[in-house]
């Protein structure tokens, strides 16, 4: 009985509100954690940018790029251990929450949600990609992931010079935007120290500017291109937290697809896969909240259902569980 009650409370929760508060707490933690000496290390699977000096933990891409940039003979020698340990730490963080890091913890994602909230306040609708656009654009994150990994390696074997150090960070909009939250605007600059630095920082500034426009009109604009998302996807099978779908119960009504910030079509149309987590997914669970069928979508930890779609919960969240009394009738 008690268990059912708790289950009901969770399944009927107003997910968006709960998520907002979790995100707020996480944002404060990662953007300002440094002020209270919080440091979760440097292998966090989100964009908690180390350029923000007060960050409570550091994005894994920073150490990853530095480690991979070691001279090849060092990298493939004893130093490989340190790379391996970094990766293990990353996985250790990741394995519990899976991509929910993106939907609930990533300060950069949270920022986009806030921009979205602002857009909503202003009464402007969102944009969507068409399916062909989606298919093409969703590959970009793998290109970025390749930049994250390949450029340091090329530096290690001596093809590229030291000016390419942390190349992805140089173009990452988080480098420019995250420090702003601690009042540091110094990343809005072009670095003329070398041609590489100039190109990279220019691209970075361009991306940062596009980020604001993009995330204003498109929900979770950047997540679509985020290499961290791509890296997550390669490891998401290891994770304990799973987004599952019961295809038999799905009526393909498309409600989940409709609310999906990332426009993942499979969530509605794929009735054969159980594991419905796709590479673009950021595990915000909005689809689960928007599914009007009992248990058609559910979130599991170790095969234990922690949050699943219910008719009742859906009605509650959509304002369909009671009749709004209209004054004008």
């Amino acid at each position: 009985m008690m268990k059912n009650k708790i289950k009901n409370i969770i399944n009927n929760m107003p997910l968006n509100k709960v998520r907002f508060w979790i995100q707020l707490v996480m944002f404060i933690l990662f953007a300002y954690g440094g002020y209270v000496f919080i440091d979760f290390g440097s292998s966090i699977p989100i964009f908690a940018c180390p350029y923000n000096r007060e960050t409570g933990a550091t994005c894994y891409f920073m150490p990853l790029q530095h480690q991979l940039a070691m001279p090849a003979n060092v990298l493939f020698g004893a130093a490989a251990i340190s790379v391996f340990i970094g990766l293990l730490t990353f996985i250790a963080w990741f394995v519990v929450l899976n991509k929910a890091w993106c939907g609930y913890a990533c300060p950069f994602g949270t920022l986009q949600d806030w921009i979205t909230a602002l857009r909503k306040k202003l009464g402007i609708r969102y944009s969507t990609y068409s399916q062909p656009q989606f298919d093409k654009l969703s590959k970009i994150k793998y290109i970025f992931l390749a930049i994250v990994i390949m450029i340091p390696l090329l530096m290690g074997i001596g093809v590229l010079g030291g000016e390419w150090s942390g190349a992805f960070c140089q173009i990452c909009p988080a480098r420019i935007i995250s420090p702003m939250f601690v009042g540091d605007f110094s990343q809005w600059k072009i670095d003329f120290s070398s041609v590489a630095a100039m190109i990279l920082t220019t691209i970075g500034v361009l991306f940062a500017a596009v980020f604001f426009v993009g995330s204003f009109i498109k929900k979770r604009f950047f997540c679509f291109f985020c290499p961290m998302s791509a890296l997550h996807y390669t490891m998401s099978d290891l994770s304990l937290l799973k987004l599952r779908k019961d295809g038999d119960k799905c009526t393909k009504c498309g409600d989940c697809y409709k609310v999906c910030d990332m426009q993942i079509k499979d969530i509605a149309d794929d009735v054969t896969s159980t594991n419905i987590l796709r590479d673009d997914c950021m595990f915000c669970m909005k689809c689960v909240a928007a599914c009007p069928e009992d248990d058609a979508l559910h979130v599991d930890i170790l095969n234990m259902r922690v949050f699943s779609s219910t008719k009742e919960g859906f009605a509650k969240r959509m304002g369909m569980s009671h009749l709004e009394k209209n004054n004008d009738q």
Binding site: K120, Q131, K258, C291, P292, M318, G319
Partner: protein, 425 residues
């Protein structure tokens, strides 16, 4: 006293009305009296049908009435514009016969009855504008026939595939156009507030339906299928607020009934999932036969009932733009109508209904002349066989003449299901 010498001559309309009233009364009486006592709250619906179909009383007096030729016209938008949707799908044999003169004789009786009804212009509430979605061939053509009668008919383009992104976009555009057509015709602006309210109101109605349906999952079913059909049928034309109030009351009573362990069926009545062509009042021929043969219809997959209520609209951002898209998705993506090229969704829905409602068998009715249901019969039968679900396929029309033969077949099917139940015990 003095004028009684000359008997009052019946006009054709009066005659039609009398025939229709007779048909309606007969079915209503059967529903009311030939079964265990129905919930008291059902009286609202019985009275409603009597008022509309026997007494020909108008329900909607000061609102614009929008006739819809099929389920695909979004009633959310109609309500948001302060108009009333009236679904024109018809179940009267009288109208069917009128329609037979206007359409090929082997057409679908539902379409014929609809056309006949519009041809006779014999309404309790006459639609002001008719929107005709291009769903199945017969309805599509019926729209054009009806237009010749002098109605204002506006086509709403509907795609026949639902998987592709193109058809989704196509349908979204149709819905947008529909909403702008409506706005133009009614000279009213669609507002965010109104549309949200109407989505939530219909959503609430759907929620009530789901709640009511949940009781049918119980081992002891508190309400019979014929009553459920009547309730969902009422949604075609009733004032939505009255409907909601009546269903709320009904739910309370049914809840009480469930608590009191009241069972509407017999001890080993088989549980049936009803699918196929929609039973529309007063054509409750098959459902009545099924339930009179001591089976209970616990669930259905028809466009006059489940399909109308099952899928609810979900909206992320309550802007007109997004709401309209969401509404469009509800009417296309969730739809299990056999007009679509292939229909795995319908099979999955039936299987899911059988599982979750603990049904023993499926009754598949197809109207003679409704090609799509007739054609899909094979794939559904094959799929049910694969799943090990008993299924009865019956073909019928609106004429009262086949009653005997149908009763025999259905009774035999029900008996075989009962035998299975007994064996299981």
């Amino acid at each position: 006293m003095t004028n009684n010498i000359k008997p009052a001559l019946e006009t054709p309309r009066q005659k039609q009305n009398r025939h229709k009233a007779m048909e309606a009364v007969k079915v209503l009486n059967a529903i009311k009296k030939e079964f265990k006592e129905p919930p008291k709250a059902m009286n609202y619906f019985y009275d409603l049908f009597e008022k509309v179909y026997c007494k020909q009383e108008a329900l909607h007096t000061n609102k614009v009435k929008i006739g819809t030729m099929c389920i695909q016209i979004p009633s959310e938008i109609i309500y948001a514009l302060d108009a009333v949707p009236l679904r024109l799908c018809n179940g009267f044999y009288t109208d069917d016969e009128i329609g037979s003169d206007l359409m090929p004789s082997k057409s679908c009786p539902l379409v014929k009855a609809t056309v006949g009804h519009l041809a006779s212009e014999n309404f309790s509430d006459k639609p002001d504008i008719i929107f005709s979605p291009t769903t199945c061939d017969q309805k599509t053509k019926a729209g054009a026939i009806v237009q010749n009668f002098g109605y204002e008919v506006i086509d709403v383009d509907f795609p026949r595939t639902k998987e592709s992104e193109e058809s989704r976009e196509y349908w979204r555009r149709s819905v947008r156009k529909f909403s702008s057509d409506m706005s133009k015709n009614l000279n009213k602006k669609l507002t965010k507030k109104n549309l949200k309210a109407s989505i939530q109101k219909i959503g609430y109605a759907q929620t009530l339906y789901h709640k009511l349906n949940d009781f049918r999952k119980n081992r002891l079913v508190p309400i019979l299928g014929k009553d459920m059909f009547l309730i969902t049928n009422a949604f075609f034309f009733d004032k939505i607020d009255n409907w909601i109030a009546a269903v709320e009351e009904l739910i309370e009573e049914v809840e009480q009934r469930a608590a009191n362990q009241i069972h509407a069926g017999g001890k080993i009545s088989p549980r049936i999932v009803y699918t196929g062509s929609p039973p529309i009042f007063p054509n409750y021929k098959i459902p009545l036969i099924v339930e009179q043969s001591d089976a209970i219809i616990v669930a259905d997959e028809t466009c006059s009932s489940n399909r109308m209520f099952n899928d609810r609209v979900s909206v992320d951002e309550w802007f007109l733009n997004d709401m309209i898209d969401s509404i469009a998705d509800k009417y296309l993506k969730g739809c299990t109508c056999p007009i679509f090229t292939k229909n795995d969704d319908r099979i999955r829905r039936i299987v899911d209904l059988v599982r979750s409602y603990g049904a023993d068998g499926v009754v598949y009715q197809a109207f003679a002349g409704c090609q799509v249901y007739e054609m899909e019969q094979r794939s559904v039968l094959a799929a049910m066989e694969k799943e090990g679900i008993a299924i009865l396929y019956v073909e019928s029309d609106y004429s009262p003449s086949q009653q005997g033969q149908l009763t025999t077949r259905v009774e035999a099917f029900v008996e075989s299901l009962k035998n299975r139940r007994r064996m299981k015990k």
